[in-house]
């Protein structure tokens, strides 16, 4: 009986948030060795692949990366000029806007969580300044956000979890909406758009920055189909997430602008893994 009450008490406190974060963090340290152990086969496979690949393959990859870097650098030069210009124009308009944010790369641990939720385990935690609600992106788009940060690991929820919603806007015309997860890794739903809304297949959805959690301007999804039923008040819109939610092994954690703005010390690059910090 005692244990039944204890569990109910725990669950209530946990559901009502924040009271148990310290307990959960402490327990997550205790279970970290187990998770680390489970992650090892995948991690060592990566290591073997890198170590045992032939010299030729490495040279080829190196050459490819060099060209890619050259192209990216050239584009970056343009971007820097554009960013400066953008900032100047925004200053004229009296609005503050930060184009770049502090980022950190984390790895997804090869550990399965509840199969009915879209959550992943990251190998970075509050030790690396992660915080609850932190956005997560990969090379193609927004992946999700951190829901619980332990000292060495963090749990993140993907944008396709049924309990997740991202404020988005259509890149073409700025139409704002909310993209809800559907429980399928390949689909998001936008249920609050009226039938006459200007949205069509192929539209790019980007984060709108409303809600203050996701920084504005990151690509989220591409509209896949729009069903307009005259009998219904709202159109049914489905979009395909751009991030490779079930394939990437590495993710990018973004420190969104308000936190960076509030605490200038936190924007200093903390480790060699930190990149992308703008030079003033």
């Amino acid at each position: 009986m005692v244990f039944v009450f204890a569990s109910i008490l725990l669950m209530t406190l946990d559901q009502r948030q924040q009271h148990l974060d310290s307990l959960r963090s402490a327990l997550s340290v205790v279970v970290f060795p187990i998770q680390w152990l489970v992650d090892q086969p995948a991690a060592s496979q990566d290591w073997f692949q890198e170590t045992l690949s032939s010299r030729r393959a490495l040279q080829e990859e190196n050459a490819r990366l060099r060209t890619e870097q050259l192209i990216l650098k050239a584009e970056l030069q343009k971007l820097e000029a554009l960013e400066a210009e953008n900032l100047r124009l925004r200053e004229l308009l009296d609005s503050s806007f930060k184009v770049r944010e502090r980022v950190l790369i984390a790895e997804i641990m090869a550990v399965d969580l509840d199969p009915y939720r879209h959550q992943i385990l990251l190998n970075k935690g509050s030790h690396d300044d992660l915080y609850t609600g932190q956005p997560l992106v990969d090379a193609n788009g927004v992946m999700g956000q951190v829901v619980q940060a332990g000292p060495f690991t963090a749990t993140a929820m993907l944008i396709t979890d049924p309990a997740h919603a991202v404020p988005v806007q259509v890149n073409r015309n700025g139409l704002r909406s909310i993209a809800l997860g559907t429980g399928s890794l390949t689909s998001l739903s936008l249920p609050y758009l009226p039938n006459n809304a200007d949205i069509r297949t192929g539209d790019l959805l980007i984060t709108s920055g409303l809600g203050g959690r996701f920084p504005p301007g990151y690509p989220v999804a591409e509209v896949q189909n729009v069903i307009r039923d005259p009998g219904e008040p709202f159109a049914q819109v489905f979009a395909r997430p751009l991030a490779e939610l079930n394939r990437s092994r590495e993710v990018l954690l973004v420190w969104s602008q308000d936190e960076a703005g509030m605490d200038p010390a936190a924007t200093e690059p903390a480790a060699d893994e930190t990149a992308g910090e703008p030079t003033p």
């Binding site: 244990f3 569990s7 559901q15 399965d112 199969p115 009915y116 619980q148 049924p162 309990a163």
Partner: protein, 163 residues
């Protein structure tokens, strides 16, 4: 529990529970993931059945708590389910031990489903209902694996004189 009874092989029990927890989060292909039985609970049920004077509701509750942290579910939901399941099996252990293995499997099926039902209810209460009949598959798989788990752990128990 009298202090005169000597306990042995606590390490074996601990290790087997640990392996159960590890098997619970080992990455599997998406298709197989839905069939994954609740290993920790299966192993826990065996020890509760074999050594009810030793493995009580408290250990079940703690195991469940670790399972909660490992699978990032609501803190306490597996703990509650495990505690209830182990309470029932400890109450029934004298009768269950007499059954042949396949009949035990049926009882285990009911216990596993009960544990899943508790988790299912809690998920419903916190607004994350699961709308798929596949949700109950792990119990069936778990019950089917029970004879194997039972024989294996009994072998371990005898080999290491766990009492």
């Amino acid at each position: 529990m009298s202090t005169l009874v000597r306990h042995q092989g606590g390490g074996v029990i601990l290790l087997s529970l640990l392996i159960g927890l590890i098997l619970g989060i080992v990455p599997l292909p998406r298709v197989l993931e839905l069939y994954r039985p609740d290993w920790a609970l299966l192993i826990l049920l065996y020890w509760s059945l074999a050594l009810p004077q030793r493995i009580g509701v408290g250990i079940a509750w703690l195991t469940g708590l670790f399972q909660d942290v490992l699978t990032a579910t609501l803190l306490g939901q597996h703990a509650l389910a495990y505690a209830v399941a182990s309470y029932l099996i400890i109450n029934l252990h004298q009768r269950l031990r007499l059954h042949p293995l396949w009949q035990q499997s049926l009882s285990i099926l009911i216990l596993l489903m009960l544990a899943q039902l508790i988790i299912f209810w809690i998920n419903g209460i916190i607004g994350r209902p699961i709308q798929s009949w596949l949700y109950w598959l792990p119990s069936v798989v778990g019950a089917a694996l029970w004879p194997a788990v039972f024989v294996l752990l009994r072998g371990l128990r005898r080999a290491f004189h766990v009492s």
